[in-house]
């Protein structure tokens, strides 16, 4: 943890964050999980609360392109890192991976209750950024932290392969 940044932000009591390309300033304690900053302070509710212990992946966001669990990422530790949520992944400034994942998810009707799917899509997009052609084993390894109680796993796997094909085209 970069101590200097922590101290500076705690003192001002205002934490500056870069969310989906926008500069945001929030008045929260530095030890507030990013999840609750996104949901309760900024109103980006696409990122979900499932377990609060980084055990389910429903709260997955990107931090400088890496998939992280926002329930265990403290607001004071984010610093200058660029945060992307589901709203940013598929919004107006969507990355090509984000667009491909969303298109695949819709084409294969992956969702059921849908509650975990923001997290699934964030993890899938992060995987495809690093690995253009993941195997089933690669997918299982990268997606193991994303629980789906509807058990849409079968389709998550197929949709990631489909998204990879879309990115190739």
């Amino acid at each position: 943890m970069p101590a200097g940044r922590w101290v500076r932000q705690t003192r001002s009591n205002m934490i500056k964050l870069n969310i989906n390309g926008e500069a945001r300033s929030v008045d929260v304690d530095a030890d507030t999980p990013l999840l609750w900053v996104l949901r309760d302070e900024i109103g980006l509710t696409g990122t979900k609360f499932g377990c609060g212990q980084a055990l389910c992946g429903a709260c997955t966001v990107h931090m400088d392109g890496q998939a992280v669990r926002s329930c265990q990422t403290m607001a004071g530790d984010v610093g200058d890192a660029k945060i992307v949520t589901i709203e940013g992944l598929v919004g107006a400034d969507a990355s090509k991976e984000g667009k491909a994942v969303q298109a695949a998810w819709r084409a294969l009707d992956v969702v059921q209750c849908g509650y975990c799917q923001s997290g699934q899509m964030m993890s899938a997009a992060a995987l495809l950024t690093e690995n253009k052609k993941p195997t089933d084993d690669d997918i299982d390894a990268a997606m193991s932290g994303n629980v789906c109680r509807c058990a849409t796993y079968h389709r998550v796997r197929a949709a990631i392969h489909d998204a990879a094909k879309r990115l190739e085209a």
Partner: protein
């Protein structure tokens, strides 16, 4: 809840005609009108001039057709299914369909299987099949009549395709253009009855591939609103400290530290614990964790799982207190039988663990209460809230939003979590809207669970290897006893949900006795995706497999011989066997196993063939599941596939490693590390095949679950020679035979 459970309600069954709807909704002044003008501000996603043609169909001037969905969508897809029925009968284009959830109104939106408003028992499509098609067909009829009147042509000459009305003369229009005029057409008496549904052969959407889920977009861009996402002006978030033991009460509490947490506004005692109200969710959680509560356990359940299981095992070693089925003379036939197989089984408590932990928003005012949440059982919740607040039921309004899973947990006879939210709102005199939020730990520890059960079966085969007697004992808690629904659901001491799937054994066994001993335990229990079938199917389908092996017969052929008068079971079983490449007597390579099962639940037959590999460390990997389902007419084949795939995954997670256990009354599991759901690496390949059928549709939300565990157990037996009679598998290691 089971489909055959009839729940009495103040609500009369819905009158399907528009006249009936208007009599309810509009009063005498509107009696001559076909349509009902809806307040544009209240109509979702449409500009002014939205016309509601019946409780289920609204048409906007831009042509958007909004289907009012009376069932909770917890992922099982009724929103897509019900919109399909309306779109089909209106010859609409799928892209013009919209949906909204129905308000709490037992007169208009009862589940016709329960005669009360609620979702469960895999009934959503089955009970709506005629009702929603009628709604679509009658709306179409008046819209076409309005066009015919305007164009001065005969109604029969107008063709509707993809929402566009055309006449051979070249005239062309949309539903949106005629909605206003159609709303003024006098309704001929009996019009609904005279309007025929479409012939099955003419379906363009029902049963067709390629119709995508209607909730795909909001669920893949973060905009779908769940209870957790609701924010009202001035709203406080509440977290509750519950008793660590069921039945414990607050003795005293110290909230000094909790009140120091930034954002915490109030701390209140309620019957179920101590609630901390804060401006944000995180503050509520922190405040709750800072509470010091002393509990009074004098009336609490303080036994542990070992003790409870021993009690159940003891119960099945003795004659049951009640008899569910008694055909022939099972005990007599067993006495003289040459070959008897006896086996004991045990099943643990299971948590539903939906991805979205339980929550509920309540805005309580002097003269009304407005609730926003994923309402699954309005017929219970609305009168419960009325009783708690002293309001009349009609002063309690319920707005339903998407559910982040349920598996039965959001429909509760005691309305537990809704009650808790209302009690918090009452404790602050409705000073602010309240959102009750449970953490994952609350969700795991605070109940309700699939009950634990013990079974014992003694079965005998004759000289020809076929079963001659089956004596089955079940012991466990009753889901319905002690609830407001007990009188309807418990007959002669038998709660049907304790024995369903066993008491109505599908196999032709001449002497059958099924006994039940209901145990009293102070742990709250509830229906859990497929209810009694979650354990009875395991016992029946593994025991029949034992008998087949004892008789030296192929497990598929043995079952088929016993299902001669069960054509739907037979068709599903044959289809699964064929598609999986099942070959009688085939020898699999060492370390591989294959097992089969077939089971009826909620009027749907599902057969599954499971392939497993025994891993080097002795654990089990499920490689493939081939399922065949007969659910009558298939409304959306891909939703059927998705539900069976999901049922397989749900059943597999529980079979592999899920159990809620108690130590001195306290639940030992807390989060997804100690109650770990199936993960992607555990998920097998799943193939789903559908039996062609013209029968009325039956459910698919639950029936995929029951066959999985027994087919898995039978596959393990085929690879190892070891029987799996207790679930979950947990750390059990196997050796290839």
């Amino acid at each position: 809840m089971t489909a055959h459970t009839k729940i009495p309600a103040a609500a009369k069954s819905v009158d399907l005609s528009r006249r009936g709807f208007l009599a309810v909704a509009g009063g005498a002044g509107l009696g001559l009108m076909v349509g009902l003008k809806v307040d544009p501000a209240a109509a979702q996603g449409a500009a002014g001039g939205v016309v509601q043609f019946n409780p289920f169909v609204k048409v906007a001037p831009d042509g958007a057709i909004t289907v009012v969905v009376k069932h909770l969508d917890m992922g099982q897809g009724p929103t897509t299914g019900l919109a399909t029925l309306i779109a089909e009968e209106m010859d609409a284009d799928w892209s013009q369909m919209r949906t909204e959830f129905a308000p709490a109104d037992g007169n208009l939106y009862a589940n016709l299987a329960f005669k009360a408003q609620g979702t469960g028992g895999s009934t959503a499509m089955a009970n709506s099949w005629e009702q929603y098609r009628t709604a679509g067909a009658t709306a179409r009829a008046v819209l076409v009549k309005a066009a015919a009147d305007k164009w001065q042509v005969a109604q029969g000459e107008i063709v509707v395709d993809k929402g566009v009305l055309t006449h051979p003369s070249g005239k062309r229009g949309t539903y949106g253009e005629f909605a206003e005029a159609a709303s003024k057409i006098p309704a001929p008496t009996g019009m609904a009855q005279e309007t025929p549904y479409k012939d099955v052969a003419k379906f363009k959407l029902i049963g067709k591939e390629g119709l995508h889920r209607i909730d795909n977009d909001p669920k893949t861009d973060g905009t779908a609103i769940y209870t957790q996402d609701v924010k009202l002006p001035g709203m406080l978030v509440a977290a509750v400290a519950h008793s660590p033991r069921f039945g414990g009460k607050v003795k005293s509490f110290d909230d000094a530290e909790a009140k120091k947490v930034k954002g915490v506004e109030r701390v209140v005692q309620i019957p179920s614990g101590v609630a901390v109200l804060a401006k944000s969710t995180w503050a509520a959680f922190k405040g709750r964790d800072a509470l010091k509560v002393e509990w009074d356990f004098s009336a609490a359940e303080s036994r542990g799982s070992d003790e409870l299981l021993a009690m159940a095992k003891d119960a099945v070693s003795k004659p049951g207190v009640a008899t569910a089925t008694n055909t022939g003379d099972a005990e007599g036939a067993l006495k003289g039988a040459a070959k008897v197989i006896e086996a004991d089984y045990a099943f643990p408590y299971l948590a539903h663990a939906p991805m979205e932990p339980l929550n509920c928003v309540v805005d309580l005012k002097k003269d009304r209460a407005h609730l926003i949440y994923a309402a699954q059982f309005q017929a219970i919740d609305q009168p419960t809230v009325a009783a708690l607040t002293g309001l009349k039921p009609e002063q309690v309004t319920i707005e339903t939003v998407w559910a982040g899973g349920s598996f039965g947990r959001r429909a509760v006879p005691s309305a537990d979590y809704v009650t808790e939210a209302v009690m918090i709102a009452k404790a602050i005199d409705g000073a602010a809207p309240v959102k009750l939020v449970w953490t994952r730990e609350d969700d795991t520890k605070a109940g309700y669970y699939r009950p634990f059960y013990a079974h014992k079966v003694r079965a005998a085969i004759g000289a020809d290897g076929m079963p001659i007697a089956w004596h089955h004992r079940v012991a466990g808690q009753s889901i319905f006893s002690g609830t407001a629904l007990e009188a309807m659901a418990v007959k002669d001491g038998v709660d049907e949900t304790s024995v369903e799937g066993a008491s109505n054994l599908a196999y032709a066994v001449p002497n059958l006795k099924v006994e039940l001993t209901t145990l009293k335990v102070g742990v709250p229990v509830l229906w859990w995706r497929s209810v009694g079938h979650t354990h009875t199917a395991h016992v029946v389908e593994t025991m029949i497999d034992e008998l087949a092996y004892a008789a030296g017969k192929d497990p598929v052929e043995y079952r088929l011989a016993l299902l001669k008068d069960k054509p739907r079971h037979t068709a599903a079983l044959k289809l699964a066997a064929e598609k999986s490449g099942w070959t009688a007597g085939a020898k699999l390579e060492k370390g591989k196993g294959r097992g089969v099962s077939v089971h009826e639940s909620f009027n749907t037959m599902v057969a599954q063939v499971v392939d497993v590999s025994i891993q080097k460390d002795g654990s089990i990997k499920v490689d493939r599941v081939v399922a065949a389902v007969d659910c009558g007419v298939v409304i959306n084949p891909d939703v059927v596939r998705a539900q069976i795939e999901g049922g397989v995954g749900f059943g597999l997670g529980a079979a592999l490693r899920n159990a809620i256990t108690l130590k001195e009354g306290e639940v030992e599991q807390a989060n997804f590390d100690t109650y770990e759901p199936l993960r992607i690496e555990d998920m097998p390949k799943v193939e789903v095949h559908m039996v062609k059928s013209e029968q009325k549709p039956s459910g698919v939300g639950e029936p995929g679950v029951p066959p999985l565990a027994p087919a898995l157990a039978n596959a393990i037996f085929s690879a190892t020679g070891e029987r799996v009679r207790d679930l979950p598998l947990g750390d059990r290691k196997f050796k290839s035979a």
